[in-house]
Amino acid sequence: MSRIGVFICHCGENIAATVDPVKVAETMSRVPGVVHAVDYKYMCSDPGQNLIIEAIKEKGLTGVVVAACSPRMHEPTFRKVCAESGLNPFLCEMANIREHCSWVHEKSDITTDKAIDLVRVIVEKVKRNAPLYDIKVPVTKTALVIGGGIAGIQASLDIANAGHKVILVERDPSIGGHMIQLSETFPTLDCSQCIMTPRMVEVAQHPNITLYTYSEVEELDGFIGNFKVKIRKKARSVDENLCTGCGVCMQKCPRKKIPSEYEAGMGMRTAIYIPFAQAVPNKPVIDKDNCLYYLKGKCKICEKNCPAEAIRFDQEDEIIEADVGAIVCATGFDVLGTDSFPEYGYGKYKDVITGLQFERLASASGPTLGEIRRPSDGKEPETIVFIACAGSRDPAKGIEYCSKICCMYTAKHAMLYKHKIHHGKAYVCYMDIRAGGKMYEEFVRRAIEEDGVNYIRGRVSRVYEQDGKLIVKGVDTLLGSQPVEIEADMVVLATAAVANTGAEDLAKKLRVSYDAYNFLAEAHPKLRPVETNTAGIFLAGACQAPKDIPEAVAQASGAASKVSALFSGDELSREPVIAVVNRCPPPVFSTCEGCFICEQACPYQAIEREEIKTRDGKLIKVVAKVNEGICQGCGTCVAVCRAKAIDLQGFSNEQVYAEVMAL
């Protein structure tokens, strides 16, 4: 026998301006099963909540309906109130008479009638609500961090320092990402490697972190707290346990002219290589696409000369399986190459380079040992033009967004150039200057006021080569859009930051949403920037959107704290609004026929198969079973089940039909 309490909220003027709450309450009080019906100005306030508490106590309510805003706003509030008063929280529901009624209609009797209908529908539902209890799921307190750039490193260290185990997987032979390629970082002009290498070493030495480099995530299964991951550790062709990192193999390798990925194509490496001097781990890798042994079966000079006898040509990829409870995705970004720009030469001019390539030239450990030199003839450039917004903010090239970091690193590049070549002329052709971070505006003004960099406002139409010089055809919109032509020795394009290669495939493996640009999607752009819509998977760094180092680090720590919160208990609570396959007494056991259409329909792969057996182990039937940990309560299985054997707790067929019939 139902004893429902109905509470109509005015929500100030939000509801009361168009709906008559007094009339609604009065009408509801005459509905059979409703024993208490009141209206109040602000139900979510303390006095409002007290109304519910008192009513439950005094009238012995068996169910509560709060007619107010959307459940997305205050359902947790009212459910908690009920729970504290001893009423199962799932016996409390909200009728949305704000977003669904008062906010979308004009003030009239019909509007109030609609509100009454909405409340009555929910009342009928609540009469059939059953108490539900949170589901507990165990948690594996190990985190998987995918990507070993600054974001991945920061997240790993934070989680490891909180006392949990971390598995860090990095695709390249060494961790470090793009930050380790930089020369100096804005706005402090700190040496990038100097500030990063201590972190890298910390990761390598941390007792809680297991580092797999030259590895990729192969497969992911499971759900929050209980993921099962398969990691492919690609064959280095070197036994890491024996190798001492002496580097003799690199000296002896005859294949020396392979464009180095670390040098962004500005320098060369050998076929067996350690990407850079501070690599972590400091163990080489054989590039099978360029090694003479793998191509033609010859050479083997490295094997002959290795003092530790660590070369293993027959080494194979290894698949490592691990159980983890949370995942942090920190796969970073990439930049467009010069060949994406038809008007700047389709990539054929050697002295037109990207910002990342300029970083390698400016870096003391780079191919020119920190001297700025033209790739074509090795001379010092006397005039250099930096083109900002190359590819970014450019719908014609398919990239509408701003890459955020280029204004800052262009100013930095111009400053570095002027510091190294005092008499040189530096021009920056820009559209806007975006320098919003701390000390950023001051940094850009320093470039202009102290280092004499010439900023020209106007995008460059074309760059072509003539007599060994690069002719830059720009414009100065501040001077009446006068065309401006500069004869430069080098042109640096601040190319757009794009999602890293393989981002889409990884997102599909993790079942994480991503946008049209292959950036991974956060759960809410304002309030949930480090979570994804997939429970248990978090984001850090530029894989979500282009960002600078302070932001990447902050986001990484944020993701780490979410992971730590997840690991804080031994169990996880999940909402019980999930699907359930019915069971009944023998000989039927369940009305489920075992057709498994639900298994195919389920978008979350939450349906499993369960065997019902006799005591002797003889199989009676195989029925569907819902995995409590994965099911999201979408109801697709309920819709497709032919036998109506599966139902949704909290939104059962009976409840929904009752709602419809109440109208």
Binding site: P259, E261, A264, G265, D334, V335, L336, G337, T338, D339, S340, P342, E343, G345, Y346, G347, K348, K350, T354, L356, P375, R462, Y464, E465, Q466, D467, I471
Partner: protein, 305 residues
Amino acid sequence: MKLGYYPGCSLRGTAREFDESLLAIAPGIGLELEEIPDWNCCGASAAHNLNRELSLALPARVLALAEKAGMEEVLVPCSMCFNRLAVTRHELLEDEELRKRVSDIIKMDYQGTARALNILETLGKLFDEGIEDKFVKPFDHEVACYYGCLIVRPPKIVQFDRYEDPQSMDELMKKIGAHPIDWAFKVECCGAGLSISRTDLVAKLSGKIIEDAVHRGAEAIIVACPMCHANLDMRQEKVEKLKGKKYSIPVLYLTQAIGLALGLEKKKLSLHRHMVPVVFPPREKPAIESKSKTKTGKVAGQVEE
């Protein structure tokens, strides 16, 4: 290959060399042309400078005539005509209301089945069918391939070749034994329709083109558009006056260069009609060594991230 043919006004007037050389080489390369009966002017730059509807009606009528004659593909050697026909077809197919209105004006129902082909893609297709042995007198010269602005733009509509550094003409020239140079003014406008009204501006723009070509060692400029030819050939004297130096660089239609390579006579290809005499003095070392880069144009060492 049999194609419809739309010569356009200039090919039957001041650019007759283009028409005559094209018809001269056609049998040799397997091309059969059928002229659109009683075709009218496409309106060129004059129509779309003064009236939008007229600028669509005139080319639409040409295409409608082609359709009526049962032609699906029409070779349009003149870049201006080609551009007008291609853009008109695109606009009318995109906007049904516009198509109806224009069909009403020309009193012919234009369906969009007839399509304009430019000279480069046509020759490209013909040359694909193994034609090298026909070039008995290789055109052994350094040439600057000048595409002009209209044959590759607007890139989204025309969708032909790389619009900043096209290679199709260079490829054709290579096949006839020429040496196309890599230069920076392949698609920079020569001054187009201002040839008569503002010859001073044409001299300025065409001057830049000729200067760059000569500076990089070209012995001839190869063109595929009558307006470009007029501005670079007929107006070369004016350019020389402006720049204060003598260039005397012959400007050939690509069909003429092909004709010479096929072994045809100069007169048959109307080379004698040019303002700048088509003679090739004995070659000295070119000013700049720059060969055209084909394929992806990537230089070793320049790797994208």
